[in-house]
């Protein structure tokens, strides 16, 4: 086992960000640059009857007004249900109807005001249960005609569907000693990155450069190429500093709109979102969800069967959400040893903003439902909830709900350590309690590439396709390269988030950066290591296999006096065969689906590659008279394999926990009867603040995971966001006497549940 410890991890982008000198997309200014503004539909469901931009184009200082008629009619998305601009039918309020480029914001606004936009309102699809009925009004008529990934199964308003079946659930439930059913309902929520997005586009001849605050520059590039029908080598996406994303800036958004404006005006164009736009427009928010779970138990507490039915609010378009049903089912069945399972989930079209990846999509809500249900199960058989989980959750060698047999995993260590660090076994009086929950999350092996060059002075540059969204993952790459080459991390600079400079990477999504790009970087470094060893062997008259690279030197193994510095070798190489490394390599294979499981419409993988496990124990205090819950301490334990960068990994856990507290207690998007958001701003959408942050303890169960991330690691970024709300729910239920079945568990909802319990 090798561990690359980075005790003194210094973020290369830290000083820039802390001192304010860092430049974000909104800070860019180009000569002659115009300001873009969008006309949004402002109505949730309507048929466009008139769109006339003649007057808008005549406003002095307006250089372009575009709508769908001005761009190719290309549908895109994981189900190809979306067009760049509204086309015939409006399906959610944030749909872009027209885009304006003008000399300044006030002029652009005048142009928007001059656009004649008329429509005939249609009844809204606002409720997922009603929308799931076969006779419901359809959000997309004839949408079977849209192209989609092969596995998407669809009918009515069901945008995607998954079922997972193993064993014989009904018979087993019929003979179980206890059968418990629960229903939980989660509101939609948002990613809320601190930086509202910015996009700047500029053409030089037929070549386009777009500076965009995206988490996934290559996906953004592909979206531009698809919708504007351009080859990939003509489009370059560059990401300046990114002010957070949390999934909200995954996917392809407005790069093509701004590129089209820039092309039409022959000027650079910049779009900067307001906070309200950031809430209303992007096809990314955390989906609302209804989760129904039934479990059958033996008297001794063993879970014998489980079934789950989940409805997800897909919103108006599918963006990347078509794999969500699969994820939701896996989270509702959970990391348990159950032989008889049936789970199904449908993502339902509505006239809401589209759902899309937000940090651990589907997991916080589905895990909250399952783990709250689990405490109900423990109560039914009179068992301690922790002991109940220890009895029923998977361990090394165990078979999970889909039949996957787990190699070495650390879930039991996580449960033990999180609980041990907590006050779970202490008497906390009437108003405090500790709740415990477990969670899991897959790893996503994927293609990813990096180059490394080492120049004549022995200094290196890592040119990577990876994207930094604030996690520090990209800034960990020099530590990996340095370890392979016997150099110092400070010897490396990084060129990143530029699609024309570097090879492909999926982006800051799916917790995949270190997993996939880390491997690519190590591979690239190993190519240089081979070159250095060959050179050193020539210089030192030894065989390349006998050369070791350490502390900036190449030495012959066993004779340390026979050595040459890497700087000298770099100087020699610069005059001939240069030190250039490349890495991509095939991603680790995902485990195969066991034959015992049948699935339909499967968009994920039933056997999860490199599954990460976690246990969170949360201590809360409840103000019984008001229902206000305050989180006092969170004790976490994570199996994310060997930890490569402890500072970075801990930051992910802390951030994930805080985001989880927000989801648990305060963060919700409220829809009106008109299917429009009622709280699209930070005044009424309540994030947690630093003043609310509790002490957080972290234990890493460092199980060496072969054939996954570098050095036996697994990812970490999304996993900490899975189990926090669930653990808080269980603490609340202990104090209230029953769970709060709505997420977030707002003070008022807790108080109402207290009233119900008293009645």
């Amino acid at each position: 086992m090798t561990t690359t410890e980075t005790p003194r991890f210094v973020r290369a982008d830290g000083p820039d960000k802390v001192t304010g000198s860092g430049r974000y997309a909104a800070d860019l200014t180009l000569t002659g640059m115009l300001t873009a503004k969008f006309l949004y539909a402002g109505v949730s469901h309507a048929r466009i009857t008139k769109l006339d931009v003649t007057a808008a184009k005549k406003v002095p200082g307006v250089l372009a007004v575009l709508n769908q008629a001005d761009v190719p009619l290309v549908r895109f998305g994981s189900v190809a249900d979306r067009t760049l601009f509204a086309h015939e039918v409006i399906r959610f309020e944030g749909e872009v109807v027209a885009a304006v480029a003008a000399i300044d914001a006030a002029t652009a606004q005048k142009a928007l005001d001059a656009i004649v936009f008329e429509y005939e309102e249609l009844p809204v699809v606002n409720d997922i249960e009603a929308a799931a009925q076969p006779d419901s009004l359809l959000v997309h008529e004839n949408w079977e005609d849209y192209a989609a990934d092969d596995d998407v199964s669809r009918q009515g308003n069901i945008a995607s569907f998954t079922s997972i079946a193993r064993g014989d659930v009904e018979t087993t439930l019929a003979t179980a000693d206890h059968v418990i059913s629960s229903r939980y309902v989660a509101d939609a929520s948002h990613a809320v990155p601190i930086e509202p997005r910015g996009v700047v586009a500029q053409w030089e001849g037929d070549k386009l450069t777009v500076w965009s605050s995206t988490q996934v520059p290559f996906q953004a590039r592909d979206g531009v190429c698809e919708t504007l029908e351009l080859p990939t080598n003509k489009v370059r996406i560059v990401v300046p500093h990114l002010g957070g994303g949390f999934g909200g800036k995954c996917g392809f958004h407005y790069e093509a709109h701004i590129a089209a404006l820039a092309r039409a005006t022959r000027r650079p164009v910049r779009l900067v979102f307001s906070r309200e736009e950031e809430f209303l427009a992007p096809d990314r928010r955390r989906e609302g969800m209804i989760v129904e779970i039934t479990s059958g138990l033996r008297h001794d507490g063993v879970i014998v069967a489980r079934k789950a039915r989940i409805l997800l609010d897909n919103g108006a378009y599918s963006s990347d959400a078509s794999f969500f049903p699969h994820m939701a089912v896996m989270h509702a069945l959970g990391p348990y040893k159950i032989d008889h399972v049936y789970g199904e989930a449908s993502s339902i079209y509505t006239n809401h903003q589209p759902s899309g990846s937000v940090r651990a999509p589907t997991a916080p809500q589905a895990c909250w439902a399952l783990e709250s249900h689990t405490d109900e199960l423990a109560k039914a058989v009179g068992m301690d909830p922790v002991a109940f989980r220890q009895l029923n959750t998977v361990d090394t060698g165990a078979t999970g709900v889909t039949g996957q047999i787990y190699e070495e995993i650390g879930l039991q260590e996580c449960i033990r350590e999180a609980v041990a660090a907590s006050a779970y076994h202490e008497d906390l009086g009437d108003d405090e309690a500790v709740g415990v929950a477990v969670g899991w999350w897959p790893s996503f092996p994927d293609a990813s590439g990096a180059y490394i060059k080492v120049d004549s002075d022995g200094k290196g540059v890592i040119i990577t396709g990876a994207q930094e969204c604030g996690t520090g993952a990209v800034m960990t790459l020099p530590y990996l390269a340095a370890a392979e080459l016997g150099m110092a991390p400070e010897d490396f600079e990084i060129v990143y988030q530029d699609t024309s400079a570097a090879p492909y990477d999926t982006g800051a999504t799916g917790s995949q950066t270190l997993l996939n790009n880390g491997r690519a970087t190590v591979e690239a470094a190993r190519e240089i290591a081979l070159q250095l060893k060959k050179l050193a062997a020539e210089e030192l008259e030894a065989s390349p296999e006998d050369i070791v690279l350490a502390d900036g030197m190449a030495s012959v193994v066993g004779s340390p006096d026979s050595s040459i510095s890497i700087v000298d070798l770099a100087g020699i190489a610069a005059d001939g065969e240069m030190l250039l490394g490349r890495g991509s390599g095939s991603p680790p294979e995902s485990p195969t689906t066991p034959k015992t499981v049948s699935c339909v419409g499967d968009q994920g993988m039933n056997a999860w590659a490199g599954p990460q496990f976690s246990c969170h124990a949360v201590r809360i205090r409840l103000d019984r008279e008001t229902g206000v819950v305050r989180v006092l301490e969170v004790n976490t334990a994570h199996d994310s394999g060997v930890i490569v960068n402890r500072v970075g990994a801990s930051g992910q856990v802390e951030g994930g926990v805080l985001m989880g507290i927000g989801q648990a207690l305060t963060e919700r998007t409220v829809y009106g009867d008109d299917a429009k958001q009622k709280n699209a701003g930070l005044l009424e959408y309540k994030l947690q603040t630093m003043a609310d942050a509790p002490p957080i303890t972290i234990h890493f169960a460092e199980v060496y995971t072969p054939d996954m991330g570098p050095n036996g690691s697994k990812p970490i970024a999304e996993a900490p966001n899975v189990a926090t709300a669930a653990a808080i729910s269980n603490a609340i239920a202990k104090l209230v006497g029953r769970p709060v079945r709505l997420l977030p568990m707002t003070a008022e909802r807790v108080w109402e549940t207290l009233q119900d319990e008293r009645a």
Partner: protein
């Protein structure tokens, strides 16, 4: 748009007479304009650099708090913390440190939001606003000043120069508590202030309560003093709670339903009374009560 910076109260009054609007910290005015509530006025006169507006003076029987005094000062000024503690409680809850560093008492009072935090404690402390124009100076009780959400009876050419609070008697104490869902950047869901004077045996000699965010303006609890005089504070809590719930006319909005507000205003009123009485009895409860007793958000 024009912005001038005043150095003296006279500068300000002249500008107001010419149609300008005063801007102090700008945390309501500018933030509201950015949110599209109402556009920035055509002509602004900045009053934050007028020394005479940022003094705290003790005079015979009164304390005069300049309209330009910031919340940061209100929450830490030794005299206010000692004798007008409810006001300090409220100031300490406002926004974030940066909001408190620029936001002023005058801005808070003249903005007249029904959810404003300094309003309820000021009312229970018997504060009056001193308004001045080029032609006159007048003093107005707060209940006469606030006429509706965001509305005051002040004329556009009148500047609030200071808030005048009568000296508090011996054996008195005050407190402000608010229901909040998080511990910074919060707006009162409901809030309550209490000022009480105790007799030597510890029962209530007199007292006042006022409520935040349950009516179009900050409102005083009618009949509170009569209801609790002669009682021990602990025994008065229930009476005051139901009085508050009865008199509240809350709305339902994203922050809470009317039913929930009606219940929690009673809880806050009882807690404000409890803390004020304990302070009157000599107990030191740090500012703000919310943090030190875990009121509102549990500890």
């Amino acid at each position: 748009m024009s912005l001038a910076i005043a150095n003296s109260i006279d500068d300000v009054l002249t500008a107001l007479a010419g149609g300008a609007r005063p801007i102090a910290g700008g945390t309501d005015l500018v933030v509201g304009a950015r949110q599209g509530k109402s556009p920035l006025p055509e002509s602004l006169i900045a009053i934050d650099r007028v020394p005479a507006l940022s003094t705290i003076e003790q005079t015979d029987g009164h304390v005069r708090i300049g309209a330009g005094v910031t919340h940061s000062r209100l929450m830490s000024d030794p005299l206010l913390v000692e004798r007008y503690t409810g006001l300090a409680d409220a100031a300490a809850l406002i926004g974030s440190p940066s909001t408190r560093n620029v936001g002023t008492i005058g801005g808070n009072v003249m903005n007249a939001s029904p959810a404003m935090d300094t309003g309820a404690p000021l009312m229970t402390l018997g504060a009056i606003a001193e308004l001045r124009s080029v032609s006159h100076t007048r003093q107005l009780a707060l209940s006469d000043l606030w006429t509706g959400p965001g509305q005051t009876s002040a004329n556009p050419d009148e500047l609030c120069v200071c808030i005048v609070i009568p000296q508090t008697p011996a054996y008195s104490g005050s407190a402000y508590v608010r229901l909040e869902y998080r511990r910074a950047m919060e707006i009162a869901v409901v809030g309550a202030a209490a000022s009480v004077v105790l007799t030597e045996d510890g029962t209530i000699a007199s007292g006042r309560l006022a409520m935040t965010a349950v009516a179009p303006t900050i409102v005083e609890l009618v009949g509170a003093s009569e209801a609790m005089t002669g009682m021990a504070a602990v025994d008065a809590a229930d009476v005051i709670a139901s009085l508050a719930s009865d008199q509240a006319v809350p709305i339902s909005d994203l922050r809470g339903s009317d039913r929930y507000r009606r219940h929690t205003i009673g809880v806050m009123a009882a807690r404000a009374l409890d803390a004020a009485a304990r302070r009157a009895g000599g107990e030191r409860i740090g500012v703000p009560v919310n943090r030190n007793l875990g009121i509102g958000a549990a500890r």
